[in-house]
């Protein structure tokens, strides 16, 4: 029994999804849940298996094992129905350079339902390419090709956009435009899955995230959940090693990461900062800097991946 697309809470659901290339396992037992109406970041370092997972979802390569649902449809069994309302860019958007932007969209529209052709003008307008729509794509910059790639997704009138490293090649203005596009698409009820290795960008653009490392999801949830309520206390002292030992002895300290000249100390509550300062001073350590900050996704990512490396 298929779940109805309109009723499914998650637009992407995978269970124990695995992809092997010979002896090498690239995606390991991934259970991904992408909530409807979210901007979802699929975050991981290069080579973590992000693109391979996207390729499996889109039917570009078969899974070795596990199951997938897109918009409530099992794939690959109901791939056509599922992908009819999905727009996707895998790696970088590619086009026929000898055709115009509008003609390239026409080709993509021919592969979709007949209404797709009527959405070409609106899609071009939305990504700001109307003025260049009748120029050959070979004259487009990389940023313009990225925008044309988005326009190609939009002609499907998608419920879900799956974008693989969409910020590649965008200049700062293009990145800002892209962030605005993501917000407006989500505000209109759409869902975006955005794979990236840029933690800062995912944190700015997305509201949910899955962190993937070595092909496996190591954490997923809302950005706020993953960040946690924890703080990071940046400590700079004249004797970093002794300072580290003193702080490590405190039960209020969760973890210490030596970040060059600064110790990044994970703490749960801000009120422990004076106590930690007192301990350092009483130990005869000169404190040069003591700065509490809300933990960023990057710190959580480093904590999680460092913990995994320690455990390995």
């Amino acid at each position: 029994m298929n779940k109805e697309a309109s009723n499914s809470t998650y637009v992407v659901e995978t269970e124990a999804l695995t992809k092997r290339f010979g002896e090498r396992t690239v995606v390991r037992g991934v259970a991904l849940r992408v909530p409807r109406g979210s901007a979802f970041g699929y975050l991981g370092p290069n080579g973590a298996g992000k693109t391979t997972l996207i390729r499996m979802l889109l039917g570009l390569t078969p899974a070795s094992s596990g199951s997938m649902h897109l918009l409530g449809h099992p794939v690959p069994a109901e791939r056509a129905q599922a992908l009819a309302r999905v727009g996707a860019i895998v790696e970088e958007p590619r086009f026929h350079g000898h055709l115009t932007g509008r003609e390239n969209l026409g080709i993509a529209a021919a592969a979709r339902d007949s209404a797709a052709t009527s959405r070409i003008d609106a899609s071009l307008e939305r990504v700001g390419l109307t003025a260049r729509a009748d120029d050959r794509v070979r004259t487009y910059s990389l940023g313009m090709r990225q925008r044309l790639g988005i326009a190609r997704c939009l002609i499907a009138d998608p419920e879900l956009l799956i974008l693989d490293e969409p910020m590649n090649g965008l200049d700062p203005a293009g990145i800002q435009d892209f962030r605005a596009f993501v917000r407006s698409f989500v505000d209109e009820g759409g869902t975006i899955v955005l794979s990236s290795h840029l933690l800062d960008e995912v944190e700015r653009t997305c509201d949910h995230v899955a962190i993937v490392d070595h092909g496996a999801i190591v954490a997923q949830g809302s950005i706020a959940e993953l960040r946690g309520t924890g703080l990071v206390l940046y400590v700079e002292a004249d004797d970093r090693e002794r300072a580290r030992a003193v702080l490590a002895a405190s039960t209020d300290v969760e973890r210490i990461v030596d970040d060059g000249n600064v110790l990044a100390v994970s703490i749960l509550e801000p009120h422990v900062v004076p106590d930690l300062n007192r301990r350092l001073v009483e130990a005869g350590i000169n404190v040069l800097r003591l700065e509490p900050q809300q933990a960023s996704l990057e710190q959580r990512f480093l904590e999680i991946t460092t913990r995994l490396e320690d455990a390995a």
């Binding site: 889109l58 129905q81 009819a84 895998v90 590619r94 026929h96 993509a108 021919a110 592969a111 979709r112």
Partner: protein
């Protein structure tokens, strides 16, 4: 059936657009088909006008055979180029995956390329043959002009020759996933491997399995040696059909399987 046919017709239009908008492809195809026949007829007519005793009239049945052979040979080269372009154009451009992610079945994407490519190539071949046929009648002079039946039969024969190699070109390019190798392989098959195999009489029945032998064996008899480019191996119409259909079916089926199952 209508639901299936209508979307495929849009895909065919899209494939045709990719070819029509390529200036270089239009120039090369026009040169190999229309240009080649116009240049050949022009040179022959100039030679005839300059020295009618040494060079007879350009038209007539015999020269129709020459023209048809030329349309078939260079048409096959054009077919290799067009077939490779339409078969692997999306893959060469890196745009194939963007069509696959639309959810459209890979089989319909695959089949539409044959129709789109044929829609592009056929008019060039038709115009080239029409010029050849018209010249063979209009410039016949003292030679016997071909009748309508022979003109029609010869046209079908030339189109069969070209379109057979077009189908192979599409299939080979899809199987390889790139057009450049496919052009090389097909030209090697058409211009070297198959003629060599056909010319080795010791190979016996193996020679009959070569499409060039099959196509040559159904050359309209009225041409005699005029349209022949290799040894004549007599074959029944059934055997000719079996050889051509077997080659085309195997190539199309293998390439289709490869296209549907490959990582996009």
């Amino acid at each position: 059936m209508t639901a299936l046919a209508l979307p495929i017709s849009r895909l065919v239009g899209a494939d045709l657009l990719k070819l029509r908008r390529s200036i270089s492809l239009n120039v090369v195809t026009a040169f190999l088909t229309i240009g080649a026949i116009v240049i050949t007829i022009t040179i022959m007519e100039l030679l005839h006008l300059a020295n009618p005793d040494a060079h007879g009239p350009v038209g007539g049945i015999r020269d129709l055979g020459h023209f048809a052979a030329l349309v078939g040979l260079l048409g096959a080269v054009a077919a290799a180029i067009v077939g490779a372009r339409v078969g692997a154009g999306d893959m060469d451009a890196g745009a194939y995956r963007d069509l696959v992610v639309t959810g459209r079945s890979r089989l319909s994407l695959y089949l539409s390329r044959f129709a789109g490519g044929a829609a592009f190539l056929l008019p060039f071949v038709a115009v080239a043959y029409t010029i050849a046929a018209a010249s063979s009648v209009a410039l016949a002079g003292s030679n016997t002009a071909p009748d309508t039946r022979l003109l029609a039969l010869t046209g079908l024969w030339a189109v069969l020759d070209v379109m057979f190699f077009f189908v192979l070109a599409v299939a080979i390019s899809v199987a390889f996933g790139t057009g450049s190798y496919a052009i090389g392989v097909l030209l090697a098959l058409r211009l070297a491997v198959m003629p060599i195999v056909v010319s080795i009489s010791a190979l016996g029945i193996v020679r009959e399995l070569m499409p060039v032998a099959a196509i040559e064996s159904i050359t309209p008899a009225a041409f005699g040696e005029a349209a022949r480019m290799g040894p004549h191996i007599p074959m029944s119409t059934g055997a000719v059909a079996a050889v051509l259909v077997a080659w085309a079916t195997l190539a199309v089926a293998f390439a289709g399987w490869r296209d549907v199952t490959r990582d996009a």
